[in-house]
Symmetry: C2
């Protein structure tokens, strides 16, 4: 597949519509794709990604939008498929530079507005709520929002009518014939658009490795009911994704059915549920919600606590409850805790830790059959191919292992291999009815955010953090007299994260001898080049430490001139 | 369950056999349990555990055997259930202090001998090979080795005949009626021992969350055959656990059947397969093995490469192949790579990375239906309870979530709740036919090994590494003149892992001003207490940095007197 892409690298003469992912393969989860035709650009989604393990200390990663900045006059707006972080999370950072209107469905825009409010950007940002079936014209594009199902309400697929043909982008989706809120995905309209002729399909790849169909969200409600029956006397705590409004709705439904009051805990949970309530995306029976402070007035069998932290996130409410550092909730034997989510790869150990901690405190932890995915499995993806019959396939939303599987599936569904494109971030793919291929490359490295700093932490800083994290550091300070280069003070040795110094006094003492010898060697040669002196100290000390400990701490010689 | 343990804390008058886990719950995977009766101690297994994520830079964790050292005259020997790292890995460290004989089955002892050779301990360690069905007398104990099945050949359960009754320890096991090598688990003998009356059962909990039965190892061989049929023309690479000798045997069987030569790659794979070959645990058809250098003389359809790295371990052969840094093997489009293992929790992302990298190079990666577990599922565990009908149950080998599930299962199988003990590392559980309970606590914190250092990295060092890894550090150096306390040089500011300095010159410049002000403040007050001066520098700089960056680097003020 990759090969066909590379082969077409020289085809720079295609006139057509450009598809330019600015995140994606290299920044998994960061969904942002520019669509360009002559002097019009629209941007689908504006997500962030969370740091990889080796990005020590990094809070989040946002896209590089240099290309959009360079073409700011062309950029007509952001069209957003749904309100998940990996699709909207970078908006507050990017809107500062690319201040264009944002379009989305009602709940999506409401969630974005929350976010903009936090960043003080609400006043300066144009937003527009789009209904399913409605179209907007942006430059030479017409974009239609089409109803889909996902693990958040109000998710949309986008049909982008371009002068070169129709692009169909599924967003994140599943096919739920019995959704908890609203209607099933609009398969009729997708078929109708397919009949008109789809130039390219950009389809969700998340679950492409899974055969069959994803179960309906409604099946989880049945599990909740049976748990509420089985544990009628116990206090029930349910942790799930804050944004899974339908899941929360079903917990509330069970609570209502079994006569329990509901407490909502965790900042993002409170935010989203409030927004969903206000916009009518969640049905909240009267008087069912109580404040967390009021829990003491109810017995265990009258309470359900809905909370964040189902992924074992350290600072989320459930983790704090499990670790006994939550101010208002503590686990007691008999409590029933439902983890209503499956660990996202990488979170397994954190989730296990929470399960262990809760179990040790006597809670019954239930985590089987309490979740369904929000993404389409193989048969659902095939259905979308059947309905759209695209000329070109551009698998999106997944790691390479998913994209390549998706490519196989697209091929099975009738898309010729040479018409399937697995794009890397920054690739410029140009499509026309006649031909298609890579026609360029734009900057699209993720930008690291650490605290208030955006982009000031790069590879060197990360490499240093890695080095420090594994081996700690040794600082050598020495004062030399100007001109004479006599040692006036030191060498002093300070270490952090290396060894427990009190138990390694000899080692540090001997290290000082090694440094002194290195200094003597330089000074006796009248070699007062500080660079060379530092290298000599570093090399000899590092040799000595490795020999003695088989460790490789960072060594920082500092020479002061007095 | 936990409660019953705590309640019995005061029962210090039990005369019986003591069960003392020195690893386990707090050091998952570190299997080592002392069994004590009057003046006899034997130790079951001597494993190591791998560092948790927060143990930055730590290579491995070994048990604290202070209790054994303090009772060295009682200790009669190590009885080892099987040759996996989490059961034998600490032997080279522990034998230095506790030099007693080691008993195990033939393959287990052969693997241990490899290890001792590497550590130059072979000469000084007594080893003895025990056959299935054979018993040894150690102090007042008689220990019988009983055949089981596991993901390594020659695994044994132990029946420990003590003056207080029989302890039955399953080791790691599964029930395989059609094992690849040797016979199925000796259920008859287990039944016979059960009939005599088992005081306590210590049974593997790893898969206790999974219903049903673990499939036979032989089923994987069928998958291999069908992959070898489907990809008859391609080069096939199979990654699996080095110690899974039966798995390797099945790959070799398929290779033989389909006329392919076999290359073994990866140090631990070569070691174990050589040992298994020499001891007769693997059947190696004549001339099937070729050296890796000879691969070039064969066509793709004539080759199978068996390698380590199925868990995405950075330094293992498969990861190096995937990252194109392996010296002798490089992936080409069309290669078929089989990952014959399931990611151990925590390794998911690393495995995914390898799959992605291999796919990008054009390999077909197969990872479904290519593995079965080596541990018993619920029905198998129930069978062991049925055969042994223990008075007490001590679930072993698992996180707390597993132990608590196991306790539920033991209870369903007829063990009263108050007779089930979930032990923490260091707990002393004393068992007699009349009563049982916790009677003490011994030291059992894991000891961290970093390079050559054993135990010289503690919490302070780890906390520093954590701090450094997230935020980097800022060093402030200043030279003061003796007596006068005049600033002779500096303050100089050096940072590592904080920000990319060239782009943050202003920040560093302003930081220097902040430090100068702090110094002036101290010196003007004639406050030349260096401790106070350092605190003042630290506090003011840390405030400034937080305000500017919302980051919290480690700040290290160093004052030199010249």
């Amino acid at each position: 597949m990759k090969e066909s892409v590379i082969k077409k690298n020289n085809m720079l003469d295609i006139k057509g519509v450009k598809v330019i992912p600015l995140g994606g393969l290299e920044q998994i989860g960061m969904n942002i794709t520019a669509i360009e035709y002559e002097d019009s650009i629209i941007v689908i989604d504006c997500g962030l990604s969370f740091p990889e393990d080796e990005m020590l200390g990094i809070d989040l990663v946002i896209p590089d939008v240099t290309y959009l900045k360079d073409n700011i006059d062309k950029v007509k707006g952001f069209v957003i498929t749904h309100g998940h972080e990996d699709h909207i999370g970078s908006l507050p950072y990017i809107l500062k530079d690319i201040n264009v209107p944002v379009y989305g469905t009602k709940l999506t825009i409401a969630i974005i507005e929350n976010k903009l409010k936090e960043h003080n950007l609400l006043k300066n940002t144009k937003r527009k709520v789009i209904k399913y079936g409605q179209s907007i014209n942006l430059g030479c594009f017409r974009i239609e929002f089409i109803r889909t199902n996902h693990s958040i309400a109000d998710a949309a697929a986008l049909a982008i009518f371009t002068p070169a043909g129709i692009l169909f982008h599924t967003g994140d989706f599943k096919i739920d014939f019995t959704p908890v809120f609203g209607d099933p995905i609009d398969l009729q309209r997708i078929g109708e658009i397919g009949k008109k002729g789809v130039l390219a399909l950009m389809c969700d790849s998340t679950n492409v490795e899974r055969p069959g169909y994803t179960m309906s969200e409604r099946t989880v409600g049945k599990t909740f009911d049976s748990i509420f029956t089985d544990y009628a006397k116990q206090r029930i705590i349910v942790a799930t994704f804050a944004s899974n409004v339908d899941r929360v709705q079903q917990i509330i439904n069970s609570a209502e059915k079994y006569g329990r009051k509901v407490v909502i805990e965790g900042r993002s949970m409170v935010n989203i549920i409030t927004t969903a309530s206000e916009t009518g995306y969640i049905r909240m029976p009267e008087n069912i919600l109580i404040d967390i402070e009021m829990m003491k007035n109810y017995t265990d069998d009258q309470l359900v606590l809905i909370t964040t932290g189902s992924q074992g996130e350290t600072m989320a409410a459930l983790s704090r409850i499990a670790a006994s550092i939550h101010k208002k909730v503590s686990i007691k034997p008999g409590d029933v805790v439902i983890l209503s989510s499956t660990p996202i790869p990488g979170n397994e150990k954190a989730v296990s830790k929470v399960i262990n901690e809760l179990s040790m405190k006597g809670a019954k932890v239930i985590y089987q059959d309490t979740h369904v995915s929000g993404h389409a499995c193989q048969e659902e993806i095939k259905l979308i191919y059947s309905l759209t019959k695209p000329k070109y396939a551009i698998p999106v939303h997944g790691e390479y292992r998913h994209l390549i599987r998706h490519a196989e599936l697209a091929n099975v569904m009738g898309v010729p291999k040479e018409n399937i494109f697995l794009l890397s971030s920054g690739d410029v793919l140009t499509l026309s009815n006649e031909k298609a291929g890579l026609t360029g490359k734009v900057p699209a490295q993720g930008i690291l955010v650490d605290g208030l700093g955006v982009g000031d932490v790069g590879n060197i800083v990360l490499r240093d953090r890695q080095h420090l994290s594994e081996n700690g550091l040794i600082i050598v300070v020495v004062s030399l007299e100007k001109y004479s280069n006599q040692i006036m003070a030191g060498p002093d040795i300070v270490s952090r994260g290396f060894v427990y110094v009190r138990e390694s006094e000899n080692l540090i003492e001997e290290a000082r001898d090694v440094v002194e010898k290195a200094l003597d060697k330089c000074l006796s040669k009248n070699n007062a080049d500080w660079g060379k002196m530092k290298t000599e100290i570093k090399d000899s000390l590092s040799d000595y430490i490795w020999k003695k400990t088989k460790r490789n701490p960072m060594i920082l010689p500092i020479i002061m001139e007095v």
